[in-house]
Symmetry: C2
Subunit: 341 residues, 2 copies
């Protein structure tokens, strides 16, 4: 069912508005940088895109026992994107919890969405099957996510396969709402389904994840980084044996963030083998980590310790975001004839 | 389980903050005046009370097929309270949809509430049993209602028996939230369970209700009022028969809004019977309706046709309400460490 899109949208000709969410639920590591942070930063330098990077702290509250975590990790998440060069020139970094239009619009979406739709959500069913007692927040998560998207007239939302159902839901809710009010008010987003690139952890076995404890931090003290890299599991090949980069965790981790030159260099040395053991490779990984992240450690720490400065940096983003959100909110309220005037 | 209440609340010493909701879902009639409007107006003149009368238009959206109704009936509801003398001096009339803090706080409550709690709500189960496909809005209704209450630190909420479970839920959510953040942040309201006084309709059979078509409007043209009152069903007692006021719909409807004198007069005449038939009683009811409502028809119409004036009248209410809501919102956000600063 194709429906007309609203005629008065807020898009900039020649630029596609891309919405990307990032949840502040733990300290960030190289796996996050590879999978989410770097792609968003690269998109922010793409002239054809207008990126709204949303720090979705509200989504992080849905587990009651971890309800205090988003508040702890938000500053680190924002500081990471700023430190690593997200361009604010034609893009925005938005803290979800600063946009009250989102939960308001979520309410309108909830009033057109059947309970059954939410009951069929994979993430909710997984939570039930795992024996957890899900919160209403977890149950309503797809509605809030749809609201994130439609509140900003987002055109494209890059998501992993595990999130594709939520994007279908967002499209469904847009259609349901537009049908209920009898005209196209909300903009229907397109999902950009992506293979989420996974990075191997320092255990050389599972994907890098804070919960497995096999992660390599971004801005930890150099000594800790060295220690973690030295712990990376390798096979028993000797100094002069040819080594397979594809199965070498040291190389895979390097490849996830290093410069082309550094990647080509290590790949070549490993394959050849001669005089280049895993100890050398780890030394090179430490140097590259220091070159890419370590040299920005101070800037990162500066942001973390200067929330006021960070807030100021993000003020233009929040002003633009609030203006956008207010426009869409008014469109929705007009369609429902809400308000006194 | 008794918990400490937050120490810094927003209450005025010597006044109990009472929150009352009114849903704009149809044209108001004498039954509504009797059951809800008059009690709220009387409370607004009680020096010991600070009444927040909330026009809960968001609650009216939960039935997708009637999603456009609240927008239609809000002006009439607000105009009715103003016309009939609700005192704004130390009280507020608040339009729910003007308070974005409510859905935000609803999100926080949803993140501490188990899905099972909502599944056990009577209203939701009734909807399921009636074969309807309930919306997520209907499912989440108890959360939004709890948010209405806690956003204003309401102390007392008068509710009918059918709503008492929702007040228990609100208390539960307050406890769950305060427990999750480890300190008393939200104020726990008390329910004031009331028998909802029912009024008989003009069919003399069922309770007065717009959906039964047996209602007597408040501000309809006099001719329509006369027509409706003349239609009131009575028994076949003759002019000079003694009549029982308890079973006489004309008297019951009069009693719901008339002055003491008019009530005593009709009661006496009906009991005695002599020379006082139902025709006379209907004539007296028409006169009394005109005296109480009809003479204010112009004022009501004036409000309806001057939304800007109504908005201005309610501006102080909305300013106070937003200030209150912002205070509570900040308490909640501080407890969760949300925001950048």
């Amino acid at each position: 069912m194709t429906q007309p899109q609203p005629s008065h949208t807020t898009h900039t000709p020649g630029r596609v508005r891309v919405l990307t969410g990032a949840k502040p639920t733990s300290e960030l590591h190289v796996g996050n940088y590879f999978g989410a942070i770097r792609p968003a930063i690269e998109a922010s330098h793409d002239a054809g895109k207008e990126v709204i990077l949303m720090c979705v702290d509200w989504h992080g509250l849905t587990d009651r026992s971890k309800i205090l975590e988003p508040g702890k990790y938000t500053a680190g998440l924002l500081a990471t994107y700023l430190t690593m060069g997200f361009s604010l020139e034609k893009n925005m970094i938005v803290l979800q919890s600063e946009i009250p239009e989102i939960p308001e619009i979520a309410w309108y979406l909830s009033c057109v969405s059947a309970v059954g739709l939410l009951e069929r959500a994979h993430a909710y069913k997984d939570a039930l099957n795992s024996g957890k007692e899900p919160t209403a927040g977890l149950f309503n998560y797809p509605i809030l996510m749809a609201a994130d998207i439609v509140t900003f007239d987002a055109q494209v939302v890059p998501v992993g396969k595990d999130q594709s159902q939520h994007l279908e839901y967002a499209s469904d809710m847009v259609k349901l709402f537009n049908n209920a009010v009898g005209r196209p008010v909300l903009f229907e987003p397109k999902a950009l389904i992506q293979e989420t690139p996974l990075l191997i952890g320092i255990d050389g076995e599972r994907k890098m994840s804070k919960s497995y404890g096999n992660h390599l931090p971004l801005f930890a003290p150099k000594k800790e980084i060295e220690k973690r890299i030295k712990e990376i599991k390798t096979d028993s090949k000797g100094l002069d044996d040819p080594k397979d980069p594809e199965t070498c965790a040291v190389f895979q981790i390097l490849k996830s963030f290093a410069s082309k030159e550094s990647i080509a260099y290590m790949e070549e040395r490993l394959r050849t083998g001669t005089g280049y053991g895993y100890g050398h490779a780890k030394k090179d990984l430490i140097d590259e980590h220091e070159r890419v992240f370590g040299c920005k450690r101070e800037l990162y720490e500066h942001y973390i310790n200067s929330p006021r400065e960070m807030a100021q940096l993000l003020t233009p983003s929040h002003n633009s975001a609030r203006q956008l959100a207010a426009t869409v909110r008014q469109r929705v309220r007009d369609a429902l004839s809400l308000g006194i005037l």
